[in-house]
Subunit: 216 residues, 3 copies
Amino acid sequence: METLVLTLDLIGTFAFALSGATLGVRRRLDIFGVLVLSFAAAVAGGMTRDVLIGATPVAAISDWRYPATTLVAGIVTFFWAPLIERIDYPVRLFDAMGLALFAVAGTQKALDYGIAPPMAAALGMLTGIGGGIARDVLMARVPLVLQAELYAIAALAGAAVVALGYWLNLPALPCALAGAGLCFGLRVMAMHYGWHLPIALQGNNDEPPTPDGPAR
Amino acid sequence: METLVLTLDLIGTFAFALSGATLGVRRRLDIFGVLVLSFAAAVAGGMTRDVLIGATPVAAISDWRYPATTLVAGIVTFFWAPLIERIDYPVRLFDAMGLALFAVAGTQKALDYGIAPPMAAALGMLTGIGGGIARDVLMARVPLVLQAELYAIAALAGAAVVALGYWLNLPALPCALAGAGLCFGLRVMAMHYGWHLPIALQGNNDEPPTPDGPAR
Amino acid sequence: METLVLTLDLIGTFAFALSGATLGVRRRLDIFGVLVLSFAAAVAGGMTRDVLIGATPVAAISDWRYPATTLVAGIVTFFWAPLIERIDYPVRLFDAMGLALFAVAGTQKALDYGIAPPMAAALGMLTGIGGGIARDVLMARVPLVLQAELYAIAALAGAAVVALGYWLNLPALPCALAGAGLCFGLRVMAMHYGWHLPIALQGNNDEPPTPDGPAR
């Protein structure tokens, strides 16, 4: 069981690291910048969760397998970037898998640290989306996870299943599987059919969004 | 007393959440992105303070009323964005109130954790401005709190009153009220009269600021 | 010995604070914004390290000398910005010195907290480059430390020497000196000769990097 979870977790780490490294290559970072971005994309979500709940030293610096995995993903991407671009669809599937696994595992860890179920679900979502946010903030762009088809909300849905199951005293493993399945399914369906959440109506729809307007 | 502080704190949280959600709507994020930005703007300052002083799990994930407040603010903004835009001035007053309350409460909490008064004041300022910084960094723009009329320094002034009162063994409540009043007053006056702090003279004033210049 | 380390550490802090303040002046922040950026550039790396390993409250808010140093650097830069620009080369030398000292001291602190040597080296690197990342993210640009001539990797090289020495049970002081010397030397040589790490080949080399492409 432990081995299965670890394997899945490392697959998720690998997928997120690929996403960070791919962006780094596109932005013409050197190989070391690519490795740093790859690492940040893969572990920032879990690091933030661990810091917020006080689980220090954080897991990503205690277990060598996580950094090693991001290192491999970064090097692979650096040397075979055109290939990775061409297999974009499998990478996005891995990414959805990583999102599902991180959301579920993040929620479980927060529950284990005594966080109340609703906030544990929020932390699970953060575990899933934090890496993508760090990756995009480092590249000075608005995080895709706040804009793409159902992404953060898919993570939250999966996390909520785990938190709800905990609250109802259901066994952990089936809840984790159901949560991961829901998140993965939602994300894949959203990619296929272009599902989006609604955007607010605005009074000044004819104006472009002002980059440095007086938003407070 | 406790109830008063909590009420004021939640008003501040609501005001900051409004500011985050308003920006999210302007940047055409979907409803979930708006909620995430609203949450980040409201709690990032307090979260950062708690993490730096080691008060984990951080308050914003232990007490459900804070996330619930940001949720309400985000939904209200999403559905009535044009209205919120029109009542911009009251929102800015709420924001100033939130700044004052967060700066004072943040300083007090740091002092309670044994931080020396000058650094407690700095942490109080950070509590006040951290949410606005997180909001703007997520939207890939230079934080307004580093540019607007007296903002960060108003927070620091209010925080300094609390820290100074603590150092002089004065009673906490009057100091908190004086600090909050000073911060709120400074900020409102600065908005009314357009007060700004000075900007440095530059040798190359005829050149525009270079976005990617060789600053080291 | 202690005094020497402290002196060198404060020189590093001063150099990084200068770099933050210089960028703030160029971006026409007001004096307070300049001070905040100066502080962030000088202490963000060490703060992040301390938070990740659980060494809270973090050092930068426990010892008044660090914020005081950044304050002095910020004020000096604000009033003599044209002068600081003109002595750009010495500032870059100080910056390289700060990088070396922070990388070595950060690694040592992580080792003292029981972090395994490879991750301690990574944390040492993070201590060195974290300030520059925070500075650039706050100014909404891609961090220079991910793009410049050998920078992050020079920090990692210096940190690795310390971690390796620890693993081999060598005495700490000579390892620290060797690590700092290696990092400083690499960085200075890279500045002189324009050394760069390689950039990945891309399939779509004729296209410009797409700022909001579908990177996942």
